[in-house]
C-alpha cells in the first residue's frame, strides 16, 4: 500500500501554484494581445472552462485512487493506445517544463545576467528540476509546501501594497466590449479550456492523497478558485496601473508593475526589487517546471513499468536524466523570447487536447467499467 502523506490543503496549494506558475510569465501578454482591455474577464471564463477537465481528472482519480496515469492507462485503453497516450501526455508535459525553464532563463537574461550565456542559465534551471525529479514525488510535494513561506508574503505585498499609493486606476479595466472576444474567438476558446490545468498535478500526487475522492474534489475546486483570484490580480493590476494599450509594451507586465507600484522613496531599501522578483520568479518557475517534468518522467516510467514490470522499476532515473538532457539540447533552438512564445502557441492547443483527452479517458473508464481492484485483466 502506498504511503498517504498529502493532505487536501497541500494538494490545493500545489494545484493553485502549478496553475498560476504555468500561466504567470506569458499568459497576461498573450491575453492582452488577443482580447485587449477586456482580457481580465477571461480569467473568470477560464475558471468555468476548467471544471470539465477537473471533473475528468477527479473521475479518473476516483476510479484509480492509488495509481498514477501511466499505471492505469493500459487498463483503460489497452496496451497499444496506452503507449500512444502516455507519449502524448509526456510530450505535452515535457513542453510545459521546457517553456517554463526557457522563459525564466530569458527573464533572468534580460533583467539581471545580460552577459551570461543563455545555455548556462537554462542549465542551472535544468539542474534544479532534475534534482527534484530524481529525488521523487515526496520531495516535490515538500518543496511546494516550503515555498508557501516566501510566496505568501510576496503575493500579499504585490496585491495589497498597490492599493495604498493610489497607483491603481480600475477605470482602465473598462469598458468591456464583446468585440474584444470575437476577433480571436476560436484560439481564445481553445486556450481557455486548458488555461487552468494545475489539477493535472493530481495525476502525479493522487496516490499520496489522504481522504480519498472527497479530498481530491476539495483540493481541485479550491486550488482552481484560488488560482483564478491570483490570475485576476496578475492580469488586471498591470492593466489598472499602466492602462490600455501601454500595458502591452512590457515584456513582463507583472515585474514592471511591481516596480511601478514600489514605494516611491529613494531610500526604500530594495528600490528596484530585483532581488524579490528574481527570487519570486525562480520559485514560480520551480513549481510548474518541476511538476511538468515529474509528470512527464512518471508518465513514461509508470507506463513502462505497467507494461514491462522488470524494466520499468529501473527506468525512472534514466528517463529523468534523459529528459533533462533533452530540455538542455532543445533549448538551443529557442534563441529569443519570441521563439519561446511561438512554442507557447503550439503548446496551448496541446493543452486543450490534453484536457479533452483526459475527459475522453474518464468517459472510457466509465463506459468500460474499469476501476482499481476490479480485476480488469490488463
Amino acid at each position: 500500500m502506498r504511503d498517504k502523506y498529502l493532505s487536501w490543503p497541500e494538494a490545493a496549494w500545489h494545484i493553485m501554484q502549478v496553475t498560476v506558475c504555468a500561466n504567470y510569465l506569458f499568459m497576461p501578454q498573450i491575453l492582452y494581445q488577443m482580447a485587449g482591455r477586456s482580457s481580465w474577464v477571461l480569467v473568470f471564463v477560464a475558471a468555468l472552462s476548467a471544471f470539465p477537465g477537473a471533473w475528468a481528472t477527479y473521475a479518473l482519480y476516483a476510479r484509480f485512487p492509488t495509481k498514477r496515469l501511466g499505471e492505469y492507462l493500459p487498463e483503460v485503453v489497452g496496451r497499444p493506445m496506452a503507449i500512444v497516450i502516455a507519449l502524448f501526455f509526456a510530450s505535452y508535459w515535457f513542453g510545459g517544463a521546457l517553456i517554463d525553464i526557457v522563459v525564466f532563463a530569458h527573464y533572468v537574461s534580460t533583467t539581471l545576467m545580460h552577459a551570461t550565456p543563455m545555455q548556462v542559465l537554462v542549465g542551472v534551471n535544468v539542474l534544479l528540476v532534475l534534482t527534484v525529479g530524481l529525488l521523487g514525488i515526496k520531495t516535490l510535494v515538500r518543496v511546494v509546501d516550503l515555498l508557501l513561506y516566501p510566496i505568501v508574503p510576496f503575493a500579499l505585498f504585490v496585491w495589497i501594497w498597490p492599493l495604498f499609493p493610489g497607483e491603481l486606476d480600475f477605470s482602465n479595466l473598462f469598458p468591456v466590449r464583446w468585440s474584444d472576444f470575437t476577433e480571436h474567438a476560436f484560439p481564445l476558446g481553445m486556450g481557455l479550456i486548458g488555461m487552468y490545468h494545475g489539477y493535472h498535478g493530481l495525476m502525479l500526487t493522487g496516490p499520496a492523497l489522504k481522504g480519498g475522492p472527497k479530498a481530491a474534489a476539495k483540493a481541485m475546486v479550491l486550488g482552481t478558485l484560488a488560482a483564478t483570484a491570483a490570475m485576476f490580480a496578475f492580469i488586471a493590476y498591470p492593466l489598472a496601473v499602466f492602462g490600455w494599450p501601454a500595458v502591452t509594451l512590457f515584456s513582463y507586465p507583472g515585474a514592471s508593475f511591481i516596480e511601478a507600484t514600489a514605494p516611491p522613496t529613494g531610500n526604500f531599501p530594495v528600490r528596484r526589487l530585483d532581488l524579490l522578483t528574481t527570487v519570486f520568479f525562480r520559485f514560480v518557475m520551480m513549481i510548474a517546471a518541476v511538476t511538468y517534468f515529474s509528470l512527464c518522467v512518471h508518465a513514461i516510467a509508470d507506463t513502462t513499468e505497467a507494461l514491462w514490470p522488470s524494466a520499468g522499476s529501473r527506468a525512472r532515473g534514466f528517463i529523468a536524466v534523459l529528459a533533462a538532457v533533452a530540455i538542455q539540447a532543445v533549448s538551443y533552438v529557442f534563441r529569443g523570447l519570441s521563439a519561446v512564445l511561438e512554442l507557447v502557441k503550439i503548446w496551448m492547443p496541446l493543452s486543450t487536447v490534453a484536457v479533452l483527452l483526459t475527459a475522453a479517458l474518464a468517459l472510457a473508464a466509465r463506459f468500460r467499467g474499469v476501476k482499481e481492484g476490479a480485476g480488469n485483466g490488463e
Partner: protein, 504 residues
Amino acid sequence: MRKPERLRSQPVRSVDQAVELAEAEREMRFSQRVDALAEAMGSPADLSVRNLADGVAAVYLTTMVDAEGLREAVISPLSGVPAPRLAHIEQLMEFVTVGGITEPLSLNEAADGVAEGKVALVVEDRVNPYLIDVSTYVGRKVGAAATEPAVLGPHDAFNESLQENMALIRYRIRNRNLTFRRLVLGADTGTQVLVVYVKGKASEEMVDKVVRRLESADTPVVLDTAFLREYVTGHVWSPFPLAASTERPDRVCGEILQGRVAILCDSSPFALIVPAQFVMLLHASADSYDLPLQSLLLRLVRVIGWLVATMAPALYIVVSSFSPGILPPNAVMSIQAARQGVPYPPIIEVLIMDLALELLAEASVRLPANVGGAATVVGGLILGTAASEARLVSNVMIIVVAATAIGTFALPGYQNQMSWRLTKYLFTAAAALLGLTGLVSALLLVAIYLCSIDVLDTPYMSPLAPWRWTALAKDTLVRLPQPWTVRLERRQRQEEAKAKRNAG
C-alpha cells in the same frame, strides 16, 4: 557509583568446546585458577590479588573498584571465612550484602567482569569465581553545561558516567513509562549504550528501528555517541546534523517527552536525540525558560543570525559584482568607494577573510580558555585592521565578516554552526559564479535537499514542509504559552489518532 550489571552475551561456542573447557577448568587447582585469571587479564599493573583466607582470593583492578566499598562489602566480611563455607552463592550472600553478585560461566567471562570493575572471588573447589560488583566511576562529577550554557533553567550537564546520566533523567521524569533499553556495542570497546524513551510518547516502530539499527552497527569502537550517529540516522554524507547532540539533561527530557528517542553511551557526556528536525536547529534549550514573547524575540534574532551567517558574504559579492542596483545608490557608492584600491575581485576578498575567520575560530577552540578569548579578539582586530589598511580587503568586507561570525555564533549547537558555515561556502561560490541567480539557485538546491531527508521516517523539514499546523503553531518560531501548548498537544494527539484510524 557502581556500574550496572553487565549483560553482554558470550561469544557463540559449541557444546563440545564448552564441556572440554569446563573439564579443563575443573582440573585446575586454586592457585592455577588465580594465575589463569590474572593471565587472562594480561597481568596489568593495576591488577591486585588479595588472599582473604585459605583458598579464597579476591582479584580486581585497583583503578576500577570503589576502595571503600571493597573493604566494607568484600574484604572485611570475608576475611578468615574458610572456602567450604563459600561453596554456594547462597552461602556467599550471608556474608556479602551488596547486590550484583553473579556466577560467570567461565574464567574468560570472569576476566571480562574484572575488566569492567567487578571483583572476582576465587574459591577453592569452585570451578568458576564469583563476581561482586563494587565498581566505581573515575571521572568528573556532574557539572555545568560547557557547550550549551543558559541564563535561566537548570545548569547541570551530563558527565561520562552512564549511571549518573541515567539518574539525571530519572530525577526529572518520575514516570514508570520512562524506559532505558540497554545494548552493548563495539566489539573492541564493549560500550554500554542506552536507548531512552517514554513509552506511549515515542512510537514503537521508531524505537524498534533505532534499536535494530544500533544492534546491526558493526563498528568495533564506540567511544562516544558521535560514533553511532550515522548508524542511527542512516545518512552518511549529510552536512546537516540529523541527530541532535546535547549535554543538557533537561533538553533530553523535553525531547523524549515529545516522542523522540535519546541515545546515551558510557564515557560520553553527550546524548544523541533522534529524529532531529530543521526547526530544532533554531531552538535553544533555554527557550523553554523564557517568557513566550522573549523566546520569540530570541528566535527571530537567531533566524536573522542564520540568514546573515549563511548569506552575507554571498550578498556582498552579488551587490559589488553583479547587481549593485538592488541597493539604494548611496549604499552602492559607499561599498564601491570602500573597494577602491583593493586589488582582488570580491570573491577573493571574501575567501581571504572567511579563511581568516575559520583560522581564528579554530584557534580559539585549541587555545586554553583564559587566553583564547583575548587571542582571538586581538587577532581579529589586528588582522582586520591591518588587512583593511593595506587595502587587501575593504572596510565593508570586514563588517560583512564580523556580521557573519556573530550570526554564526548566535546559532545554537556546535554542529549546527558548522553545517551552516559549510553551506555559506556553497552560497558564496554560487553567487560568485552567477550572482543573484546563482545564490537563489543554491538556496533552492539546499532547500530541495533538506526537503528530501527523512530521519527515522520523520520529514526533516516538518512541520514546515510537509505542513503540520498544530506543531507549527505550538513551537516553531513562536513558543506558545504552556496552557495553550498543552491544549494543542492534546489536539495533536487526537489528530494523529484520527489519521491512524483513517489510514487503517
